[in-house]
Structure formats: C-alpha cells, structure tokens
Symmetry: C2
Subunit: 213 residues, 2 copies
C-alpha cells in the first residue's frame, strides 16, 4: 500500500476512528454503516468514506463496514499490530504520570525504562522499575531495542538529549518539551505542546466573549 | 477586530509564534523580518505574512516586525491579557502533574483548586491546596469565578462531570479524558487525547519502516 499521498490531517483522524470502532466492538456491534458512524462521531458520512478511500475503502457500499475488521485494519495502519518499546526521559510529575498511564499497554506500547539526571531519584521505583541515570540511556536504547523515547524534560535539555537518542538509534520521539526538536527526517517526532493547546482554548473563550463566536 | 473567518489552523499556529517571539524578546531582540522569523521557525515567510494578515498584518513591510509589540498583540489575541482561573478535576498522576506545571502561571493561568471523588485524597495538599470532594465543585466554580476546568478523570465519568461544569457556568474545558464531550456550542473544549497523539507517532514510524516515508 502506498501511503505517500495521505495527508497528516487524515492520519490525525485515524486514532479517533480507531477509538470509536474499539468501543463499538466492545459493545458487540458487528456492522455499521458510514451514516451510523457519522451520527455517533459527528463527522459527515462523506468525510468518513473519503478518509477510508485513502486506504482502499474497507467496506461494501450499502452493506456497512465490519466493525472488527475495520478496527483491526486501522490498528494495523497505525502501526499497532507491532509492539513498541518505550522509555521515558524525565521522571518528574509528567514523566511519572505517563509511566503510570497503563492504558497505553493495551495498545502494544511497552514501558521499558525511565531516566532522570537527578541522582536523588535513582533509588525510586516507578511501576517496579528503578529510575536510571542519564548516562545509561544510549546503551539501554541499543540493548533493549527501544524504538520510542518520551521526552518530559525542560526545553533547555531536550535538544541535546534528542540528539543523543538519535545517535543511539531511536525511531520516534514523543516530545512534551516545549521546544521544536531538530532531528533528521527519518526520525519521527510527535509534539505535545501542552501550553499551546491551553492557549488555543483561551483564544476560543475570548473570541466567544467578544461576541465573535 | 472580526475573527470570524480565521481558521482553527491559523489559530493553532499562533501559540508557536507567541513562543518564538517570547524567546526573541527574552534575548533582547527588538526587530525581526518575516524572512528571519521564517528561518528560525522553519515555515515560509509567505505563510507568516499570510497568517499575520488575518490580524491586520502587525508590521511594516521591509522594515520588519517589532518583537515586543508582536508578542503582546498575539498574546492579546490568544486571550492572555486576562488571567484565567483554572480548576483540575481528577487528582491522579496527570492531574497532579498539571497542577505542578508552574509554567502556566506565567501566562496568567491561575490554579485555583483540585477535586477528586476519592475520599482518601481529601487530606492531601497539592501546591498548598487541599484536594476537595466533587460535591463542592459547582459551588466553587460559581463563587471563585472559575472559567476553565481541566478534566483528568476516566472517560466513563467525564461526560457527566462536563455537564455539571457547564451547568455551573464554566466557559472552557481542557479535556484529557479519552472521550469526545458533548457540550453546548458556547462552551469551548480543547481535547488532549494523548493516546491519539502516540498513535500518530507509530503511524509515522511504521510508514517509514515500510519504505513509504
């Protein structure tokens, strides 16, 4: 399958389809039409068909989609048919919250280790894993087949740590540091800039309050 | 100013401009051309000019933008000239991480309280604020002029809690629960679906590994 032309906008919508289909599957629903899916997801049926057509369409017109098949296929497209080995860099509040966010494991995200530069934390265990010093990071990535690193460190440190991770062979970085990383094209980066998201919220609040909503 | 036609895509880029301009300001830089801004932000100068034209342009062609003025103006558009009063619903790992994320206060986001349904937590203090029971929530929202609620509770509870918040007069919800909320149009919702973001990352990793990057 050639995904080259699929826009990041379409990709951005796939996890939401995956989530709704997972819920339908859990409810024991076997088939759903694009119109029914449209009603519960509040996107147009035409948008759904267009999105799915990027991947060959998945279903029979007028007969509906097989929920489980569609769920599995979208999961496969999202790379969830393979397990992913994660480490977290930064054992502060956010790093610990993500380490404890067990829900990720159901999807094949395996939490393998957590690192921090603060020696006072080295004895501490999070989900039965000791917090490791930063100078073990590269060896750990190489020897444990880590493909994803989660960065929950201050922005002043994130750029240099990202370079070390790339050097050690990481494939993807889930970046919570409030800085844009500069990594080679073949390294995938997904940014979660929390305060950017909060500002979008206040923009929409203040626009509404100014009667422009 | 009439913002009605400004797309959420443009709005989504404003916080990033704001972040870069804040850094330039901190470095003491007074003026910057769209070309220089383009170089450091890695977007085209034409994109920058187009984005800024949505708000009247901000600057003089060929003379560059005044950094501090631009920073203040974008902050004002983002609603950061007013302070916002936040409460967090859910004192789990993520809720506590966000409560401790002091960086938000610099931007006028004032953390006013944290709520949980677990009575075992009621004695605990986070940033010198006691964790409150859920049945105090509505009164607190009304009496303390809370405009933003942050939801870090399980998706099974989020929909009902959002309805209670709306009833109590909340203006915006920053939603970390993994569910789409169904609130009236005048209530602004900004979703942070962490596992959706992680799936976008694995999509891009697996696409690259299949030689389609």
């Amino acid at each position: 399958m050639d995904n080259r032309e699929i826009s990041q906008a379409v990709i951005g919508r796939l996890p939401r389809y995956f989530r709704y289909l997972g819920e339908l599957k859990d409810e024991g629903i076997e088939r759903i039409s694009s119109q029914e899916l449209s009603d519960i997801m509040k996107v147009t049926a035409s948008q759904i068909r267009q999105d799915f057509n990027n991947f060959g369409g998945f279903g029979q017109q007028g007969y509906g989609y097989k929920v489980e098949y569609l769920y599995e296929e979208i999961g496969r497209i999202l790379g969830l048919n393979k397990s992913h080995h994660l480490i977290i860099i930064g054992a502060g509040n956010l790093g610990q919250a993500l380490a404890n966010y067990m829900n990720f494991e159901r999807r094949g995200f395996l939490f393998k280790g957590i690192f921090d530069k603060n020696p006072a934390l080295y004895g501490t265990r999070i989900r039965n894993m000791r917090i490791r010093p930063m100078d073990e990071m590269e060896t750990f990535v190489r020897e444990s087949g880590i493909d994803i690193a989660v960065l929950t460190i201050p922005k002043t440190e994130a750029v240099a740590v990202a370079e070390r991770l790339v050097e050690a062979g990481i494939r993807g970085i889930w970046n919570f540091a409030h800085v844009d990383l500069n990594v080679p094209e073949e390294i995938q980066v997904e940014n979660v800039h929390l305060s950017d998201s909060l500002m979008k919220l206040t923009y929409n609040i203040s626009r509404f309050e100014n009667g422009e909503g």
